[in-house]
Symmetry: C2
Subunit: 442 residues, 2 copies
Amino acid sequence: MASPISPRTLKGFRDYLPQDMIGRRAMIRTIEAAFNRHGFAPLDTPALEYAEILTGKYGDEGDKLLYRFTDHGEREVALRYDLTVPLARVFAQHKGALPLPFRRYQIAPVWRADKPQRGRFREFMQCDVDIVGAAGPMADAEVLGTGLAVLSDLGVRGARIHLNHRALLTALLDHAGVAGDHGQLLALRAIDKWDKIGEAGVRKELAGGVGLDAAAIDRLMTVFSTTGADSVATLDALEALVGANEGTVRLREVLALLDAAGHGDGVQIDPTIARGLDYYTGVIYETRLTDPKVASMGAVMSGGRYDGLIGMFGKDAVPAVGISLGLDRLLAALRELGLVDDANHGAEAFVTVFNADGRVEAMRVATELRAAGVSAEVSTIEGKLAKQFKRADRRGCRLVLVVGPDDAAAGTVVVKDLTRGAQTIAARAELGACVLELLGAR
Amino acid sequence: MASPISPRTLKGFRDYLPQDMIGRRAMIRTIEAAFNRHGFAPLDTPALEYAEILTGKYGDEGDKLLYRFTDHGEREVALRYDLTVPLARVFAQHKGALPLPFRRYQIAPVWRADKPQRGRFREFMQCDVDIVGAAGPMADAEVLGTGLAVLSDLGVRGARIHLNHRALLTALLDHAGVAGDHGQLLALRAIDKWDKIGEAGVRKELAGGVGLDAAAIDRLMTVFSTTGADSVATLDALEALVGANEGTVRLREVLALLDAAGHGDGVQIDPTIARGLDYYTGVIYETRLTDPKVASMGAVMSGGRYDGLIGMFGKDAVPAVGISLGLDRLLAALRELGLVDDANHGAEAFVTVFNADGRVEAMRVATELRAAGVSAEVSTIEGKLAKQFKRADRRGCRLVLVVGPDDAAAGTVVVKDLTRGAQTIAARAELGACVLELLGAR
């Protein structure tokens, strides 16, 4: 006999049991509602793509992390790595069928053969909104405002988007004397680690890897320390150093629009934001949660304008701006902040079954509850009532209903409220209304 | 320069554009609501599993259709092929954390490297409900009733579950003189094709592949033609032929319970239902839509009791019963029947932007609408109003709002109803209420 197969998930993958799903599902619903309210439409794309669609888009490191294989038809295929490259493919493939500008959201898992760490998985859910085909500040502001509205709808207080612009970054690097595309790229990569390695670490990288002298590093540090809650004051200070430029002009426009959308307090100009990926061309941003309990979690929502990427499968450049929310990291933060209700994963009402003769009556009662819109489980195992009560309690069911032979004859049902420890005798004719009342305002 | 990469999806895979997603999303919501109302809780599992978890569970043919490869850690992995084997793994792995009986639903894509045909894809969504840990008729009836409630909630009229039982099948085969497990299995497989190849085709297979003589085939045909709208009469007729048995007893119990749940008209005893897979041990069923427009679509929802499968990763046998709904096939049927509203994939209201100076005011108006709960898109491209109206219309937006410089000064907004061709001048202070009223009862 073959040795039994051990039931296990792959490293970096996980199951979501009902107790994990309820809060997660509610969160996804809230996010979708916010996306819809802001005029974004849903898109879904296959988990598998031709490998050539995905390779070469995420850098050498990204290419290595692709789940890639040869399929039954000898095609090279790979699992979706993010939602942006599939969007670019969809845009090129279905352009004629899409309304322009194309405002879409996609909430879907992506796969990366990354080293699993605490809070980092090989399969994880991304939530992206993007506007494709609009180059102006309205699109930037719409995407940022939608992101902030999502966080606010989820009950998050004190989230702040740290906002920058690639043109401002370039002007700041020029001002500090960091010359050449390659040198600037290396410097940006060092600055991008500010959050992780601190000022001392960044200074060390700028001296070593980038090869800047002490004076240039000091100038960079002055420039990159210019930030604060007053975004306009920050822009004024930066313009005093390097002059007005495409970046500062756009950031002022975006700030005014976010102010009009009621999100003025949700953003902060921050010249240290550089973003790891090399494809951003305009505004760039990361979101931090300010509550000390979760401040160390890093960016929960980030993105920027990337006018070169969407056009890669076609002939023309296509402007695009987007924001991506890491669902599971944010969910972990929400749980930490006590903003997720994971308790109730059972039905609202549990209908017990006294014995085999009582099945039909129990099924009738459950059917009446469901018709009234109550979520109801009917016991599928007969036997001791005490055990059935325990099962109902373990699931988090609020009410337990008993229809004994006497009740059936009398046309009544006993309804026990497990939360309050109270008991009601309900007439069958009014059962739905009675249970709805016990469950409270709905 | 490298030749451009052609933007395309893999054969058997497809994108869901917003116009495809809206109806599909609404359908999934309806299904989830019905599952919740019937006391089933959501579960999610990884797309990738250890290959050894999946292989050997779906027969040789199924094994060949697995998307299987070696991952970065030299592990043999495979994409999920159905939702039942992952459920068995979850049950063995997390048993202590699950309430028993475990009632779960899962709505998730599965992957099969099948030959793509009309309506058959390599990536498709399954919706499964199962009750694990309950052997009695209540569990059978709960699963069947939930399936019928889903169809009813989706607006389907005239759906019928064709119901059979493996013990009844065996009794019928014994009666017809088909002996031995292997012979019976071959005969079942032939009978399972009744729907596809008709009575003549089944007769041919029974004579050829199974090797039955004409008398045995005649006896089988008599038995397997016994069906009709009156399920109790069908059972009476079958018992008259082969006597009462475990199958007929259970079917009578299940019928009584479905009757109590108001689904008496939704089922029909049908001895030709055999189900292709070999793991069913009790009730088995397939669902047919009776409307002639979609009757040829085949089974949209099927399943049965499979008391041997869930325990395969553990030591003990675990009873289980479930039903699986093919989302995309059913969606195609719903579209055919005119039960899907695909029209509106845009926001309810579209806010135009007159020129760059009007951006801030347009953003304020959009923000007010969203605060009132209206789904609103604000134009991210300025320019001719006529073009903006066209864009709004193409998206299916119902209302278009114009805030010109005069309107801003007067504190008014022009609201045009594209459906009715009417125009309203709304005071800014009452904009949300006015738009909600125009959108009708919500």
